[in-house]
């Protein structure tokens, strides 16, 4: 704060400030003319040099042995520091706490992992249902996921058939992506605490689907050619809802960011906060 002792420390009647001087402009003009002479006439440079030396000497005399000052009277200070907004609205996220570093609580990393795993099961189930209903094979979507390893000219029958190699590649891809997205949910959901299902179940899947829609042709051209976008979005939403529910049911942990560094570092510092508050 501005020291409230402002009025208690009496203001002086007058103050000393650096005195106005013409030497800086003379010196600057001299330097400019020295250079200007290169493109006009040597006499301009000579004049510039004279001004330069005069300006420098004048400047030295202005500050040596002591700087020249002028004394100015201090005007009566009538400034009153006050606000027209006495009422301060506070975010209602932390009742009883006047100031809070947001987020106050977060989900542990394990919550994101659990959510990702649960979502992966839901998504896989929906995808396999799609395969069964449209192509009579639960392996169709699994093989499509790794279709980059298939020849571009692979037939639908080939993709619908069981393929152990494809399954072994598809499982880690599916799990890894699900865990990453689940972890992201764990980080993001506390930021939108009011409507976790809306964010997790709708917003995020649609954004994710949009991103894939624009890039899938580069990542997996075969999948891009054969994908059914309504089913894809449906399985993404399924993932989002299940992962969002699982994450939001996990216990939250308090963040430490509003604690002093000594406490966060594990150093015993009793009374640290109390002393600060009492100041």
């Amino acid at each position: 704060m501005v020291d409230s002792a402002k009025s208690a420390v009496s203001a002086p009647d007058k103050l000393q400030l650096p005195a106005p001087t013409a030497w800086p402009i003379v010196l600057a003009f001299g330097i400019a003319l020295v250079f200007a002479g290169l493109v006009t006439s040597a006499t301009v440079s000579v004049l510039g040099a004279i001004l330069l030396i005069t300006g420098a000497v004048g400047w030295f005399r202005d500050v040596l042995p002591h700087e020249a000052h002028e004394t100015v009277p201090v005007l009566p200070d009538t400034a009153v520091i006050q606000t027209s907004r006495r009422e301060v609205a506070r975010l209602g996220v932390a009742p009883g706490v006047r100031r809070a570093w947001l987020p106050i609580e977060v989900y542990p990393v394990s919550a994101g992992i659990k959510g990702g795993l649960a979502g992966s099961v839901a998504m896989a189930a929906l995808a396999m249902l799609y395969g069964q209903l449209t192509h009579g094979s639960i392996w169709y979507p699994i093989n499509l996921l790794v279709a980059g390893f298939f020849p571009a000219a692979a037939t639908t029958a080939q993709i619908a058939a069981f393929n152990l190699s494809a399954l072994l590649i598809a499982i880690p891809i599916h799990l890894l992506t699900s865990l990453l997205v689940g972890s992201l949910y764990g980080v993001l959901l506390p930021m939108f605490p009011r409507r976790p299902i809306l964010l997790g179940g709708l917003f995020a899947p649609i954004l994710w689907s949009g991103l894939l829609f624009s890039t899938l042709n580069i990542i997996n051209p075969v999948l891009n050619k054969r994908i059914s976008w309504p089913w894809f979005v449906l399985s993404q939403v399924g993932f989002g809802i299940v992962a969002g529910i699982v994450v939001s049911y996990q216990a939250r942990i308090r963040t430490w960011q509003n604690l002093p560094f000594a406490v966060r570092a594990g150093i015993e510092a009793p009374g640290l906060m109390t002393e600060k508050d009492q100041e």
Binding site: L17, I25, H66, E279
Partner: protein, 557 residues
């Protein structure tokens, strides 16, 4: 000379004879007056540079136009670029830093008041020398007058073979002179922020505007020095038979490019960091919230300062550097987007949940946020070398660059004009005119620079004097020119508003925005000594603490 005691006969300004007032301004070492002189000087050159742009746009509005000759067109784009960078935005940066930094940190003046005056006058004479070229450089028959080598003046265009007469010399010497001024101003800002902060104002409690200007000043010293060195080498080449940039005699034209861009890219951050500082002061006040993530904002600023020194050669992807060099500069260019992105997130987080008041300063800052984001995104696009190979030297680059300089920087400086106008003059500006200015300029900006990207993508090169019809460029160029008319009208309203408000505006009081930094604790306009008693502070928002003693910030910082 010993300390001189002079009475301070501060009669009302209007009752002092004009010559005496003029003398007072010419000999002043007061940081506030010098700041105002920087700003007024920049405004004059803004008008000149704007008129140059308008003439160029008229020339390009339709194909096969002959509004000006090709020779004049070359001079116009050279003078426009040089003027806007060196004699508009740079003086604006130094002007606002001069006026505000001492007030914000509770100091009575800059650390070196005489050096401050000297720096301003060097900058001023540099600009005058540049524009004297229109008259003075026409020394040889047919040699032309004003510089016409483009604002980055690549070799060998600048050699005596291709640039006879003195036009290029005026460009070199004027930038050399003003460059010395910039270095002096930067030294002053660094010394002031490091040494003159009021008691209690640790670096962690310094206003972000002061922080950003501190980093900016460091960059000025690092960036202007190689430019000045290159200018001296060019003078040696042109006058003393040197061959620094003469490829046929063992020199290197590419060396000039490196010298220029090792200045040129940090220069963008020299210009934009103070704009960030302005946004960091205005957005919290008009959102009624403290800035989100102050330590990260400072860290991002310092990171930008460091990384900005390692990205310069992304301007040179088409020169034919090695693949290692290309890769390095692509990655460093991508890296600088990270701290910049952090800042944008933090400004948005400051606004989030705030009680936002869309007064003119906040309108300009909000527009800045979105425009600078787009500018950054097109910058990242061009930061990828293969993409740049397609678009280098096209109008896409011009659109991106103006998105940064106008959409990013000029918008925040307009915000700053309105935000601090009451402090500087003691009067309020006219809000209706300010909003009219905003909308005219906003529409004009987007008409001009959104649509300028398209002819660039269609292959229209920069700096062409005219073009053939039938290439799909006509409509876009016409829209771009129409946008400039809106911008010019906006500027006109802005000037009218400033003049009218200065003479007829309502009295503002000391703290019309209910703000939190120290400059609002002194009278408007501030007295010569700024603060009768040096204030001591305990938090980043010292005035908040005074206004809310029951809940001061220092308990939580």
């Amino acid at each position: 000379m010993s300390t001189e005691l002079i009475a301070w006969p501060r009669a009302p300004e209007s009752s002092v004879p004009f010559v005496e007032r003029l003398h007072g301004w010419v000999t002043t070492v007061d940081h506030k007056r010098l700041g105002l002189m920087y700003i007024l000087y920049a405004m004059v050159f803004l008008l000149i540079g704007g008129i140059e742009a308008l003439i160029m746009r008229i020339q390009l509005a339709v194909p096969h136009n002959n509004f000006v000759s090709p020779q004049v067109f070359n001079r116009l784009f050279t003078m426009h670029g040089t003027t806007m960078i060196f004699f508009v935005i740079m003086p604006l940066v130094f002007g606002f830093a001069n006026y505000l930094v001492p007030l914000m940190i509770g100091a009575r003046d800059m650390a070196f008041p005489r050096l401050n005056a000297f720096s301003f006058w060097l900058t001023a004479f540099g600009g005058i020398l540049l524009y004297f070229s229109w008259l003075g450089a026409n020394g040889l028959y047919g040699a032309g007058n004003a510089p016409d080598v483009g604002w980055f003046a690549y070799a060998p265009l600048t050699s005596r073979t291709f640039s006879v007469g003195h036009s290029t010399d005026y460009w070199t010497l004027s930038l050399l002179v003003s460059g010395f001024g910039s270095i002096g101003a930067a030294i002053n800002i660094i010394a002031t922020t490091l040494c003159l902060r009021s008691p209690g104002m640790t670096l962690g409690k310094m206003p972000l505007f002061a922080w950003l200007n501190l980093v900016m000043a460091g960059l000025v010293i690092l960036a202007i020095s190689p430019l000045s060195a290159a200018q001296i080498m060019l003078v040696i080449d042109r006058y003393l038979g040197g061959h620094f940039f003469d490829t046929q005699a063992g020199g290197s034209a590419v060396i000039w490019m490196h010298f220029f861009w090792v200045f040129g890219h940090p220069e963008v951050y020299v210009l934009v960091l103070p704009a960030f500082g302005i946004a960091s002061e205005i957005i919290p006040v008009f959102s009624r919230k403290a800035i989100f993530g102050y330590p990260i904002m400072v860290a991002a600023t310092v990171a930008i300062g460091f990384i900005s020194m390692s990205v310069w050669a992304h301007h040179m992807f088409t020169v034919g550097m090695s693949s290692n060099a290309n890769t390095f500069f692509v990655l460093s260019t991508m890296a600088i987007a990270v701290p910049t992105g952090i800042k944008i997130f933090n400004w948005l987080a400051t606004m989030w949940g705030g009680k936002i008041e869309f007064k003119a300063p906040m309108l300009f800052c909000t527009a800045f946020l979105f425009q600078f984001l787009i500018a950054g995104l097109t910058g990242i696009m061009q930061g990828a070398a293969p993409f740049d190979w397609h678009l280098a030297n096209s109008y896409f680059v011009i659109a991106h660059f103006h998105y940064v300089i106008v959409g990013g920087i000029l918008f925040t400086f307009f915000a700053a004009f309105y935000y601090w106008f009451p402090k500087v003059t003691g009067r309020m500006y006219n809000e209706t005119l300010a909003k009219l200015h905003f909308w005219l300029f906003f529409i004009g900006f987007h008409l001009t620079f959104d649509f300028m990207h398209i002819p660039g993508l269609l292959g229209m090169p920069r700096r062409i004097y005219t073009y053939e019809p039938g290439r799909g460029w006509e409509t876009w160029n016409l829209i771009v020119t129409i946008g400039v008319v809106f911008q010019a009208l906006g500027i006109l309203v802005f000037i009218v508003n400033l003049l009218w408000s200065y003479f007829k505006g309502k009295t503002a009081g000391n703290d019309p925005w209910d703000a939190w930094t120290l400059e609002w604790s002194t009278s408007s306009p501030p007295p010569a000594y700024n603060f009768a008693v040096t204030p001591s502070v305990k938090s980043r928002r010292p005035l908040w603490d005074l206004k809310h003693p029951e809940d001061p910030d220092w308990r939580y910082e």
